[in-house]
């Protein structure tokens, strides 16, 4: 019995350690509006991604931690191909030329949206880059992360999988 309690306690500690990456759970908070254009000038809102789990990432091409986590977001996209997960990266307060200069060096398969005036950055109250939001299929904010992570492994992947598991069977 004592041995089981020890194992249980250690298990809880590891779990707690896993959350130390900094994901903050939100009680299904309504998401602010997202009104941006992609690099082709097509307007996008959150409604474009309704019914899917969304990883919404605010970044900038001058921000080293943002660029460090980008490859893991691309690996996550490839790993999740065919599943209802949308990765959307909102570039904060830069021009299309600055974003394209970065994309010429890094091939990314997920959509990049532009926020040249920073209006979405302000609406989502983003004060540091990168900041990421995990939204459920109803468009509600479930988790927030300030700072970079490896998106295709560990706690990030676990949280995304748990949110995908909540979807109706036909959507998974």
């Amino acid at each position: 019995m004592k041995r089981w309690l020890t194992v249980l306690a250690l298990g809880l500690l590891c779990n707690a350690g896993g959350h130390a990456a900094g994901f903050e759970a939100r009680a299904s908070a309504p998401a602010p509006a997202l009104e941006a254009q992609d690099l082709k000038g097509t307007p996008k809102t959150l409604a474009s991604y309704r019914g899917k789990v969304v990883l919404l990432n605010f970044w900038a091409s001058w921000c080293p931690p943002c660029l460090r986590e980008m490859p893991s977001m691309e690996r996550l996209r490839q790993k999740m191909a065919g599943r209802p997960l949308e990765i959307v990266a909102v570039d904060s307060a830069e021009t299309a030329a600055e974003v394209n200069a970065y994309l010429s060096k890094m091939q990314l398969g997920f959509p990049i949206l532009l926020d040249p005036e920073g209006s979405n950055t302000r609406r989502w109250k983003v004060f540091a880059l990168p900041t990421s939001f995990l939204l459920d299929a109803e468009g509600k904010v479930r988790y927030v992360l300030t700072g970079p992570t490896e998106w295709d492994e560990g706690e990030a992947l676990q949280l995304i999988e748990s949110m995908l598991a909540e979807l109706p069977v036909q959507a998974k």
Binding site: P32, W62, S92, E117, G118, W124, K125, F127, V141
Partner: protein
């Protein structure tokens, strides 16, 4: 015996009074009529900042450089700036104004917080003679995603001229209007300038761009321009 006790008590009282000493700062003397009080960020004084101070002194601008984390043995954290004895800074500014030179205070990042609060403690007539240059000032108390930002209480800044130098490549740039409004609410006369193609702390970056390296070397010219133009002249 009683006399000895009184003597000891007086010595102790004097030692306590001496706590309001001026902070330990580095001087770069010059004969011109401009004096720049340079308060470095919570990361401490970087070599390009020393070189810029030397260059300024060669051009006639005297610099008193204050590294708050070093002067008060504080950890290199933004929160350390909130632990700086404000009275020391107020006395330092008063001493600078008493020199008869035209005084500009240049503070970086979170160091702007104790500098503004110290300026608020000055007599209004002295405060009107000062000009503050704040490089990407951080005045948040709380800045959490999805929540309105909350800023520090600064005290009365009436009559104080403040100019913010904001690197474009900073997460704080979209929030600049709110920051300016906040300082204006306390009575400061505020202005700002965006520094294009630069990041926060561009003079001490691990992987600086070529432009950032070049601008680090031109920091003295940038400050001379600010001292001789607009709000701080």
């Amino acid at each position: 015996m009683m006399l000895f006790r009184i003597l000891l008590l007086s010595l102790w009282a004097c030692a306590f009074g001496a706590r309001a000493d001026l902070p330990d700062y580095q001087t770069f003397p010059a004969r011109g009529d401009q004096l720049l009080l340079w308060v470095t960020s919570e990361r401490g004084r970087a070599e390009p900042e020393v070189q810029a101070a030397e260059n300024l002194a060669r051009q006639g601008v005297e610099v008193w450089s204050l590294d708050l984390v070093n002067a008060y043995f504080l950890p290199q954290l933004p929160s350390s700036m909130d632990r700086v004895p404000q009275q020391d800074l107020t006395d330092w500014m008063r001493t600078a104004v008493a020199s008869g030179k035209q005084v500009t205070v240049y503070a970086v990042a979170r160091a702007a917080a104790p500098v503004l609060r110290a300026a608020a403690e000055l007599e209004p007539a002295l405060r009107e003679r000062l000009c503050l240059l704040l490089m990407y000032p951080n005045l948040y108390t709380v800045a959490e995603p999805l929540a309105e930002p909350d800023y520090l209480d600064l005290g009365s800044l009436s009559g104080l001229r403040v100019k913010v130098l904001q690197p474009r490549r900073s997460a704080a740039t979209p929030w600049l209007p709110g920051l300016m409004d906040h300082m204006a609410q306390f009575g400061a006369s505020v202005a700002y300038e965006i520094l294009e193609n630069l990041r926060e702390g561009y003079w001490a970056r691990e992987t600086p761009t070529e432009f950032e390296v070049a601008e680090s070397r031109r920091m003295d010219a940038m400050l001379i321009r600010e001292l001789s133009s607009g709000g701080c002249k």
